[in-house]
Every structure is written in C-alpha cells, then in structure tokens.
C-alpha cells in the first residue's frame, strides 16, 4: 500500500512544477529523484499502473528519437498515455502558431508536457504559458535537464554517491551543454575534482570554471592529454570533438584521435572507472569498449528513462505504490 505523502513534506513540492533547468530543482529534490528512480528500477511491475489516466504530451519541434522515446516509454511504463508530435512539420507551428498558443491548447488535453525545440529558451516560454507542468527535453544548445539527471543517476548507480569523485570530462568542453550542466549540478553537491580534458580550441568556458571555483569543495585541472590522467579518474564523461568546431582541418586531424577512447587507453584506467557519454556516439568511443564493464553509456540511457519516470510522477503528483516519499535516506546502488 502506498504511503501517504505528508502535506508538509519537503519532497512533494515538485507537484505541479515545471522543470526548465536543474536550477528549478533543489539538491534535496535531486537526491529524492535519484532515490525514487532506484526504487522504480527495482519495482517496475508495481509502478506500472501508477499513472493510469495521466497523459504526457511530447511536443518535439525537432527530431530527437532517443529523448522522445525515453519520455514516452517512461510515461507508458507508469501506465499513462502519450500524445504529441515529433517534428515541427507535423505541428501547427507550420501554420505559424506560437509556442505559447500550442502549449495553452495542449494544457487542456494533457497532464504534463515534454518539449523539445531548436530555439534557446523555448521551454521557459512554454512553462510560462502552460497551466500544467512542462519539462524541458532540450532547448537548442541551452538546457537539457533530464540528460543531467540521467548522468547523475549513472554516477549514483556506479558509485553509490555523486560526491567525493574525480570526474574527467573529455572532448568538446566549449559547446557541450551536457558537460556544463553536469559540472554545475555536481558543484551544487560539492566535493568533486574535475579533470577537464580538451584541445585548447575547445576548453571549458570561463563562466563554468568560475562556477567550480565558487564551490569551496570542488576543484579543477585543465589538461590536453587523456592518457596522462585517465588513471586518476573515477568517471570519464566523453563528448564528441566535431570537425566543424575547428578553424582548420589540420588541427582537427591532429587532435581527433587523441580524444578517441579505445581499449589501449582504457587499459590505463582504474578497473572501477565508469565511462559515460550523452550519446549519440560517433567515433569518439571505440565500439570494442562497449563490452568492457566500465562502459556505462547504455546504462545511462536506462537511467534517463528511470529519472524521467521519477520526475514525471513527481510533477504530476502521483504516488508510487510502496515508495516511501518522505524518507530522506541515502541512495545506494
């Protein structure tokens, strides 16, 4: 039997809330979501009808198969239903309708919206217009909070904690929104040492470095060679170094292989290191790494779905049978 949420519980206050960035979610709420996702992972049959009668609207103005399927599966696995569109061509936007009008309309049909849009800030516009919770499923190169929740859940599941870790982030650290969001969120929890591995052309922006510096318990080191630091890492977050980010092709060709993770480089890593990647992976992780137990990137996909289940059940205000809402317990793997 489901436990009743105490009316003053600090944990039920995501009910009715939109999540545009992770700044909208407190660290205690993130910890709560991590605990809830772990519970869901172990109790999928029990929660399979928890959201019966609830409807998720996926408003995807640009294609993103993985994220859309993850949101939709998350709602279906909670027993809810899904409506929506998967590209702007299928939506009224092709007739010139604003985001606000579309969302106001959909608010009459659904209980929660997941929106993906190529314009930065689109999810905030939607959240302002909607009368139901809106979850940002990616707004251009700006924010993608549920990806960061998936990253955190993967660290949690591998290490039983998201603090006291040495986390390497490798590749394109200039334009990678997932990297910036992960760093900023880990800084809110503290006690993380970041090793920032990138070519000088793709270094971490100063405002992100300032964020690390502002966190008393976090520190960083910038390096350009992956092999020299991989042995120190608890987790390695890989991103793709894209050709179009370079001013000339020679630099790209010179650096490209440096940032490809293969078995030779992985041999230098700790046996417990976890390799994360927001996917899609192109060439930056050699496919033979997939079979190594340190590869955690497909686990990350599952964790993304579990965290979306945890988040959606929270914002639509449903209780999960057997889940202790108000137990501020540790989140062990």
């Amino acid at each position: 039997m489901a436990e009743r949420i105490p009316p003053d519980s600090q944990f039920d206050n995501l009910n009715g809330r939109s999540v545009v960035t992770l700044d909208d979610v407190s660290t205690s709420q993130i910890s709560y979501l991590l605990r809830k996702a772990r519970f869901i992972s172990n109790h999928l049959p029990e929660v399979s009808q928890a959201a019966a009668g609830k409807i998720l609207a996926t408003l995807f103005y640009e294609p993103s198969t993985r994220t859309r399927l993850s949101f939709e599966t998350a709602m279906l696995r909670l027993g809810g239903h899904v409506i929506g569109f998967s590209s702007a061509q299928n939506a009224s936007v092709s007739k010139g309708e604003s985001i606000s009008d579309t969302v106001k309309t959909v608010s009459n049909y659904a209980d929660v919206v997941a929106i993906r849009h190529p314009k930065e800030g689109a999810a905030l516009v939607a959240a302002h217009a909607a009368s139901i919770p809106v979850i940002n499923a990616g707004d251009g190169g700006h924010m993608h909070p549920t990806q960061t929740l998936a990253d955190l859940a993967t660290l949690q599941s591998r290490f039983g904690r998201i603090t006291d870790l040495t986390v390497g982030l490798c590749g394109d650290l200039t334009f990678g929104r997932t990297v910036h969001s992960l760093i900023e969120t880990l800084c809110r929890f503290g006690n993380v040492r970041f090793i920032l591995i990138s070519p000088k052309e793709l270094r971490t922006p100063q405002y992100v470095l300032d964020r690390i510096t502002a966190s008393e318990s976090c520190s960083y080191e910038e390096v350009s060679d992956l092999t020299s630091v991989i042995g120190d890492l608890d987790a390695l977050y890989m991103t793709r170094v894209q050709k179009e980010r370079f001013f000339n092709e020679d630099d790209y060709l010179r650096l490209r292989d440096t940032y490809i993770l293969d078995m030779e480089k992985l041999a230098l890593a700790k046996p417990t290191m976890a390799v994360l990647h927001p996917l899609p992976r192109v060439t930056e992780i050699s496919t033979d790494v997939d079979n190594d137990p340190r590869a955690a990137y497909f686990e990350q996909v599952r964790n993304g779905m579990l965290m979306r289940m945890a988040l959606m059940s929270s914002v639509v205000g449903i209780t999960l049978p057997g889940f202790a809402e108000d137990r501020p317990q540790e989140v062990q793997a």
């Binding site: 604003s98 985001i99 606000s100 930065e120 800030g121 689109a122 516009v125 251009g140 700006h142």
Partner: protein, 140 residues
C-alpha cells in the same frame, strides 16, 4: 561660455557617461524631437573627466531602473519651483523588461511573437545582465 537656462519643473540627470546622452534618452523613451530638453554633452567633470548632463522640463516619471542599467553612476535631481527638492541615485534593477533586445539569433525571442524581452541581473559587481530565456549576455 555656454549658458543653458535652468528648468523650473522636471529632472536633471547628471554624470551621464560622456557622449551617451542621446542613447540614454532613447532608453528612457524620451523623444528629443518633442520633449522640452537641454543636453550638455562632453562637458568637464571633476569626478569622471567628462560627462553629459540632461535636463528635462516637465519630465514624466523617469524609469530609474532603466537609468541604473545604462548610466549607473548618474545622479537625478528632482526640480520643483526652480529648486532641487530631491536627489536620487539609480540602482541596478534585478530585471528589465522590454528595454533591451536579445542579440542571440538562436534565442526564442527572435521568433516567438508576443513575449516580453526580459533580462535579469546576473552579476551585480560587473553589472552583467543576461537574457531570461537563453542566458545570452546583454549588449548595452
């Protein structure tokens, strides 16, 4: 020697950064073609070397928040019956609405019609403002 007649009712905005008086008027939404104003530009300032001064006769309510955004060191004298009855210093507003426009072409404000252009103060020490929607730094 240049002489500018004093105003009897209105405001005097002093210590405006030299050369920016017209820009300040534009941000304050005061039309220099119709308002009764006196501009003194690039005059000597003991404090800053040079400055502009704006005198506005019968000034409507001036949005000091906007002034704080573009001329934070300015001072505002309120004039009534030819006397300065109050002095005000603008402060950096926490949020400015429909004063600045986001220059980021990827920002939703470039395509979504009917929404306000909102910037929030992100660094009070440097006076940095960022777009509420896309976090792009404001260009003043």
């Amino acid at each position: 020697m240049m002489e500018v007649t004093s105003i009897s009712e209105g405001i005097i905005i002093d210590h405006v950064p030299a050369g920016t008086a017209l820009k300040v008027l534009n941000y304050l939404r005061i039309d220099p073609t119709t308002a009764s104003i006196a501009l003194i530009m690039n005059t000597t300032s003991n404090r800053y070397g040079s400055k502009d001064i704006i005198k506005i006769q019968n000034a409507p309510d001036v949005d000091l928040d906007v002034l704080g955004l573009i001329a934070p060191n300015a001072t505002v004298d309120i004039v009534k019956d030819s006397r300065i009855v109050a002095k005000k210093r603008p402060r950096l507003p926490q949020k400015v609405t429909n004063v600045l426009s986001c220059v980021n072409p990827r920002c939703v404000t470039s395509t979504e019609h009917g929404i306000d252009q909102i910037f929030r103060l992100t660094n009070p020490e440097t006076g940095e403002y960022r777009c509420l929607y896309c976090d792009e730094a404001a260009e003043l």
